[in-house]
Symmetry: C2
């Protein structure tokens, strides 16, 4: 590697170390921080965010980047490195340093306010910090620039290159396919026995079983942790340090279990990144859509599949013999796949899930683009819930307050969840072709071949290829909603006898 | 406050936010980090340490400091702020940035190596990282400068202004007084029944009781946490976020209990700092000697006193009714105060404790001053143990490997423990004068008056006064070993009927 390239990587790793230190502070903020430490932590995070930003926009960084870009005969990897370094630098350089600081403070305050409001259900306490966050994010969007709408400039952080223009028809198509399937399901006479999942499942046993499942799918616990948090998430500081969180409801088995499988899917992506690339501009996951494809693939395509429970149900019964007495595989499989309008996105079935995203996407677009105000969100939310699902939340914590995202300033994040759903079906279909007897193996609890295939096709590439390219290389086709629509139609057609 | 002073405080708080972010990463490193994350964390810490150092030695900081120093009519507080900012800046400016980075990497590696060696008892694996740490710390000492010996330059970080010249006679005096008392105790016929403390005490109950005690002495759990770690410690990121750790041995009651009281003593100091000063140069504890005076005061003067157990023994018996059946207050009090040669410093009695410090102090002085080599430490340690205590460790984990300090590069830290012991007796004696019926209150479990007195006399002052001044202001006398010697002579004279 040429000296100029090495210098760029040194500059980059300085920025990246600080970004990861920042992630550690944020993980701690969500899982460990005592209430009394919130204000101080906001300062630590804001200062660290500013300093990381300073490094990325510094003269030294820019000069190292320019010199590396001018080198003749860069390898394909080196080209990807300069491309990604340029992309990050370009965006950061447009945002003034004091705005970075203000956003970080507002995000910590928003998070604390969200947490409190979530507990108390008093929306009024959340309006001020949320308004401030929207105002600042809009300033960021204006600073960064966009062609069509400000929202695009935020979306770009999570899904580089994605735009409203592209997403609108995609989500529209999904919405229609979903509505059609839901109508058919509505006419079906078949209903699962959902009481199976609502018995008393003590916390400690749920967590212990969850850990075993997570290990079985190949998540390495000496390179990670599992903790509790209000809202489940996964964060990686290095392929050797990837942390999942979950939450447990003792009267609702799926929350902890599928939450953990979901986050472990994210975690496998983080653990599967190439350790040799971690301190380079291509050492991170390429996009949140791809990230979510990994979590949804494990949660749904694998974890809500019949083969998976052929292996795990007998084991789950050993932990909860009384609660699951006499429950047959088909009953259990149908219960964990019940399709019905529900309030909570993270616990929604695969069919209605994307409607939850449509709801959020429409609202946050209007919020960022200045068409609606934060104080009106609960009313708008509830009206949309009624329209899309036909139900009305009894309190905001099962409505507009359920997700942590807006409180943390994550606008433009939600649509990546639907992209993840689409990608997951497309990727899984290809895995089924490439791996002979895949579902037979899954039914024996042998999940590592799938993990290793994903590692080879997706994880290890980091940011080498843009998301759409990566999907194309992995699956042989460009990203399309069709595999997902076909998958849900087939699966739920069978379950509901359509 | 004048604009120049405000600018200095802004510069300072940037440095301080980064230092505290660093402490969060270190706390996480010791309590949460999975094994696979160690190498990456070393990088994060090293980069963050370098960036914090850059801020402290930057042209902007120096210029802000100079301007603030030139202001006429600074208040006493402002004078203390510029004094402390100057002291930190002066030291930092002498250490090259690459050395700061190298030290941070070596400390993380040393910590990981210590942890592994502690488990495996193979000293050979620790020699290389320790040698590197000694080499780098010596480079730091040479860069910073010293009048008499390199060790002084390291000591100064933990106990500003302290020197070997001052400590040698002080520790010599303590050693002699200890030896004299030990001879008398050796001739006494009285012996406690130590088996009381060696029964089976389950972990969960020990921790739950420990939490209650910690809360009773006034540690606020909404402004802190308690976690487990290999070596107990306390760290504060803000008066609102102070974290204690402990460890539990189910066959040895005192370790967790007195460990927690000790760390909570540190924690009270951190929680008692003036929140209005936290982001200024006088917002931190003044020295480790003063810090240790707080932990030792609570652990020993209060926690190993008869009045304390008059209140808590009946409560402890409710948790462990079988283990403590028929145990009388005097038996328990004697058992937790048994004086005898022992291997482990943190569990040593008050009398022999300072000999553990003498042992470490002599070895680390010679190590830093270049008179001995890391590979020879186990033999030297064991020879000194034999000489001072008449016993020989069976393995290094109960000998030279027991403490985390050297693995973390903390040379010059140990003697502050003995200073803490001396200060603690002097401070407690004054508290007894100032607070009428103090021990009567303690016997009723009313511990908060003492906490509040300490807060007023010690905690809230931060770095307003140098350590010796602070002790003088709090106690009316300059620091002296006499109160401590008189205290142990009286207490153990009674217990051992001397």
């Amino acid at each position: 590697m040429k000296a100029e390239m090495k210098t760029l990587l040194e500059r980059w790793s300085e920025f990246q170390d600080l970004s990861r230190a920042l992630s550690v502070l944020e993980w701690d903020q969500e899982t460990q921080l005592p209430a009394g430490g919130a204000a101080a932590r906001a300062n630590h995070i804001a200062t660290l965010a500013s300093v990381a930003h300073e490094k990325l926009v510094s003269r030294e960084f820019r000069s190292a980047l320019k010199k590396a870009e001018k080198l003749p005969r860069l390898t394909a990897k080196e080209q990807a490195m300069t491309r990604e370094a340029r992309r990050e630098h370009r965006r950061a350089a447009k945002i003034p340093s004091d705005l970075v600081h203000a956003v970080a403070i507002a995000e910590s305050r928003g998070l604390a306010a969200w947490r409190k409001t979530y507990r108390t259900n008093r929306w009024s306490g959340f309006v001020k910090p949320l308004t401030e966050l929207v105002r600042l994010k809009r300033r960021v969007a204006d600073a960064v620039g966009y062609r069509d709408v400000p929202y695009d400039a935020l979306l770009d952080v999570y899904e580089p290159g994605a735009t409203v223009k592209e997403l609108d028809p995609l989500l529209g198509e999904l919405r229609e396919a979903t509505a059609a399937l839901l109508r058919k399901i509505g006419r079906s006479k078949r209903r699962p026995d959902r009481r199976i999942l609502r018995r008393h499942y003590p916390q400690a046993e749920q967590l212990a079983f969850g850990r075993k499942v997570v290990e079985a799918i190949g998540f390495e616990l000496d390179k990670g942790r599992i903790d509790l948090s209000t809202h489940p998430f996964c964060t990686g500081f290095d392929p050797g340090d990837v942390r999942l969180t979950t939450r447990v409801f003792e009267k609702h088995l799926p929350a902890c279990l599928f939450g953990l499988i979901h986050e472990a899917g994210h975690g496998l992506y983080e653990q599967g990144l190439d350790p040799k690339l971690t301190r380079t501009p291509i050492g991170n996951p390429i996009s949140l859509g791809v990230h979510e494809s990994q979590s949804r693939l494990w949660e749904n395509l694998v974890g809500r599949g019949r083969p998976f429970w052929r292996h795990f149900l007998p084991r789950l019964k050993r932990v909860f013999p009384r609660q699951l007495e006499g429950v047959k595989l088909d009953d259990f499989h149908f219960a964990i796949n019940e399709v019905m309008p529900s309030f909570i996105r993270v616990e929604a079935d695969e069919v209605t899930y994307n409607l939850h995203i449509v709801l959020r996407y429409e609202i946050e677009k209007d919020l960022v683009n200045g068409r609606i105000r934060p104080r009106d969100l609960p009313a708008l939310w509830n009206a949309q819930m009624k329209k899309l699902f036909g139900i009305s939340p009894r309190r905001d914590s099962e409505g507009v307050l359920q997700d942590i995202h807006w409180g943390m300033g994550l606008f433009g994040y939600f649509p990546t969840y639907s992209l993840g759903n689409l990608y997951s079906a497309q990727i899984y279909r290809k895995a089924q072709k490439d791996l002979p007897e895949l579902e037979g193996k899954i039914a024996k609890g042998d999940l590592v071949p799938l993990r290793d295939w994903l590692r080879k096709k997706i994880h290890r590439w980091g940011r080498m290829y843009p998301a759409a390219d990566l999907i194309r290389r992995a699956t042989g086709a460009k990203p399309s909603p069709r595999p997902f629509v076909e998958y849900v139609n087939a699966k739920y057609g069978e379950l509901y006898d359509l």
